[in-house]
Amino acid sequence: MAVDFEPKILAFCCNWCTYTGADLAGQSRMKYPENVRVVRVPCSGRVNPQFILRAFRRGADGVLVCGCHPGDCHYATGNYFTRRRFMLMRELLEFNGVDPGRFHARWISGSEAAKFRDTVSEVTRTVKALGPNERFQEASGEES
């Protein structure tokens, strides 16, 4: 594994909590690793497991899904579905040979800028330690 390996991590963030929290981290000039790219979605409940599989297939080294805290969902119940879905998701990924350390789901509210920073840092560290994601990419091949 290359020492200077810089993973690319994709983060799905809900518009109302985590995306706002990430913005707040910026407004507070917090610093975190550059490895994360955020895709804005209305709700973590919008994140189809298909999106995550696609990211891994394309070569994502890590995927993070973030939403409002359970009970705080802007859409009342969306994140409960997220929670259930991604408990299954982790097992599915493991079954497919993706280290579960590459996939994380977290609840970060609009005021938890520091938690966003810490989560991104921690996930980056974890994924860095795991090295580049090659297995799933190779095993599944390119999709037309």
Partner: protein
């Protein structure tokens, strides 16, 4: 080929000092589909916007990507700008290179690289953007106010005065709520009836208000601007269209049962008016205690009624009405302390009463005509203990929250006791005294100076000794145990959500918190709206409140409702779920997942693919008025028939793919 224009903002030096904006623009220019890329100091400024509009015309751009601050900041600004152009305002994507790039990274090169990635993702998504049109829905110009306490009364009057129709619904036979039971109101000590009964009369007489008492909500359909509510008008066995409220029936009725309005401190008849100033001022029959309705014997009221208003065969009636807005004003109920506090006697001691009972005792129109007489023997008490936080601030036995009004109620009760019973001693047991309101602290201060003894400590138990009640607690300021031998004990009990409010909130689709109070759309910025569009809240249904706060909130929610009713139609966000009916199998998996009940299965005509015969099949349909665009349904759909406009599956996948081009 779609021509995308990319515009990179420097944000002064905010972005430009942290990453290479020129390089980002250059990289953007090379992206497939991009016809033009530019950078500028302030894209959001007047000249910046003009620069974009000019570029659209000059290069024939079809879509726009702006790399700048967070879309939460200026997405609406740029959408408005696009309305002035030939491009649909939804053919816009924002790459957040300020909050999520320039401001959070120190490495210039890496930040630039990330900005290029973000622009590439935005361009990929923009290429799949489609023109969307905000829909308009009509608005029924009538409001339903649920709950006829002071909150509902105020809200209904405000709406009616603004020229809109209001229907005020109350499940009791009269409006007035808890305020009608109070004697005086703090801190000014004006007589509660003197200020609330005129408002009640106004409601009864207002041409824009329809008053429905003894009525409840049975079902709610529809969405903002277009609610259809089924109202159950409960049988009251008296024809109010002809009844004049003469009172002959009440005088002759042989039944005596506990008066709930007087909190069990007096009796009432089976045919009764809730209280003398009731609005409407007409009696109803309580079927549970009426002899005629229970076992067919009696019928006295029918005999004495000069107008023949009595109808023992009356039944509940259901009526359907349309509304544009709904205000929830269901109020509170005092906590059932008897079930919570064995150490306070659990209701075994007649002379341990709650604050609302004391209001009736001290009220000139109450059971004792305002003479403070203790329930057990009718004697005037010489020593009275008032205990606060009964059921409040007690997560173990009651509720964790503070009920907000009890500190002032206790001060008022202490004041009234000292005022009406010269020479009596009043002890107020408290944990903290909370007086955050205009004139409140001054009132509390005066009560203390008048002679009420405040003892800091929660009473540990009450027991009987002879015919006195011993309140045993600690004077925590002294660090000594105290035993107050009281003739009367008043418990200032917690407020709890009104019984049945939970079921009503379920019908409306409104969320409630762990304690059962209605959840606001936002605790600070949208305090009188619920999470359901077009449903507003007023008063104690949202949490414990005193009268001034309740009335203020009622007027605020009325203003919100009036704002809605003033429009003939309203725009809804077009970024909602869309169903491809050809793909939909009608399985119904999406319905239960929707938090807004926006998806329903409908039958549509179809042809059997085998025989070509006309058949019907089920498909899911999205109600544009209800859908809020969360997208949860899209993930549940097994056939992939549902997609979310503005965040379509293929748009998100393009974004993902773009990162690894």
């Amino acid at each position: 080929m779609s021509k995308v224009g990319v515009f990179v903002c420097h944000c002064g030096t905010n972005i430009a000092s942290a990453l290479d904006v020129f390089k980002v623009a250059e990289a953007a220019r090379a992206l497939p589909g991009v016809a033009h890329a530019a950078e500028y100091k302030y894209m959001c400024s007047e000249p910046g916007q003009q620069l974009i509009l000019d570029a659209i015309n000059e290069h024939g751009l079809k879509r726009v990507v702006i790399a700048s601050c967070s879309p939460r900041m200026h997405e609406t600004t740029f959408r408005k700008m696009l309305k002035k152009s030939k491009i649909n305002e939804y053919l816009l994507e924002i790459a957040n290179i300020r909050e999520q790039d320039a401001w959070v990274h120190a490495d210039f090169e890496k930040a630039t690289e990330k900005a290029i990635d973000l622009v590439r993702m935005a361009v990929a998504k923009a290429l799949k953007d489609e023109p969307l049109k905000a829909q308009t829905i009509p608005i029924t110009k009538r409001a339903l106010v649920i709950g006829g306490g002071i909150a509902g009364i105020q809200a209904a009057l405000d709406i009616a005065d603004a020229g809109h129709e209001a229907v005020l619904l109350e499940r009791e036979p009269s409006i007035g709520g808890h305020m009608a039971m109070l004697d005086k109101t703090f801190p000014t000590l004006d007589c509660s009836a003197c200020i609330s009964t005129p408002k009640m009369v106004d409601v009864g007489a207002h041409p824009n208000i329809t008053l429905l008492t003894s009525a409840e909500v049975d079902a709610v359909k529809g969405y903002i601007g277009n609610f259809t509510v089924t109202i159950r008008k409960k049988a009251n066995y008296v024809n109010h269209d002809i009844c004049t409220g003469c009172g002959a029936c009440e005088q002759k009725c042989p039944v005596k049962t506990d008066s709930a309005f007087n909190r069990g401190l007096s009796k009432r008849t089976a045919i009764y008016k809730l209280f003398p100033q009731a609005v409407p001022s007409k009696p109803v029959i309580d079927a549970e205690s009426c002899l005629k309705l229970k076992n067919g014997k009696c019928g006295v009221c029918e005999k004495v009624c000069p107008l023949g208003c009595i109808d023992y065969g009356d039944e509940d009636r259901l009526v359907e009405m349309d509304f544009g807005a709904i205000i929830v004003a269901t109020g509170y109920r005092p906590a059932k302390w008897q079930r919570m506090y064995d150490e306070y006697g659990a209701g075994r001691y007649a002379d341990v009463i709650d604050g609302l009972q004391f209001e009736r005792l001290v009220n000139a129109s109450g059971p004792t005509e305002g003479h403070i007489a203790r329930p057990s023997d009718g004697k005037a008490p010489k020593t009275v203990a008032i205990i606060k936080c009964v059921g409040s601030r007690d997560p173990k036995k009651g509720h964790a929250y503070c009920s907000r009004a009890c500190c002032m109620a206790a001060a008022k009760h202490a004041h009234q006791l000292i005022d009406k019973l010269p020479g009596s001693r009043v002890f107020v047991f408290y944990i903290d005294v909370r007086t955050p309101g205009k004139g409140y602290e001054e009132f509390y201060d005066q009560t203390r100076k008048d002679g009420a003894v405040y003892v800091r400590g929660r009473v540990s138990r009450i027991y009987k000794e002879g015919d006195t009640l011993v309140c045993q607690g600690e004077d925590t300021l002294l660090g000594k145990q105290v035993r107050v031998h009281a003739d009367l004990v008043i418990l200032e009990t917690a407020m709890e959500p009104s019984p049945g409010s939970g079921a009503l909130l379920g019908l409306l689709g409104c969320a409630k918190d762990a304690d059962g109070w209605v959840t606001e759309a936002h605790p600070k910025l949208r305090p009188v709206e619920t999470q359901v569009g077009g449903v507003f809240l007023a008063g104690a249904c949202q949490g414990p409140k005193d009268i001034p706060d309740t009335v203020a909130q009622a007027s605020a929610s009325a203003a919100k409702a009036i704002g809605l009713l003033n429009k003939d139609e309203m725009e809804t966000s077009p970024m909602i779920a869309k169903i491809e009916e050809d793909k939909c199998s009608g399985c119904g998996a999406c319905g239960p997942i929707c938090p807004y009940k926006a998806i329903a299965l409908e039958k549509i005509p179809a042809r059997d693919p085998g025989t070509g015969k006309k058949i019907e099949r089920l498909v899911a349909r999205v109600n544009a008025g209800l859908c809020q665009g969360c997208g949860a349904c899209t993930v549940a759909c097994r056939t992939g028939a549902i997609d979310l406009l503005g965040f379509r599956n293929n748009q998100i996948l393009e974004e993902v793919d773009a990162l690894w081009l």
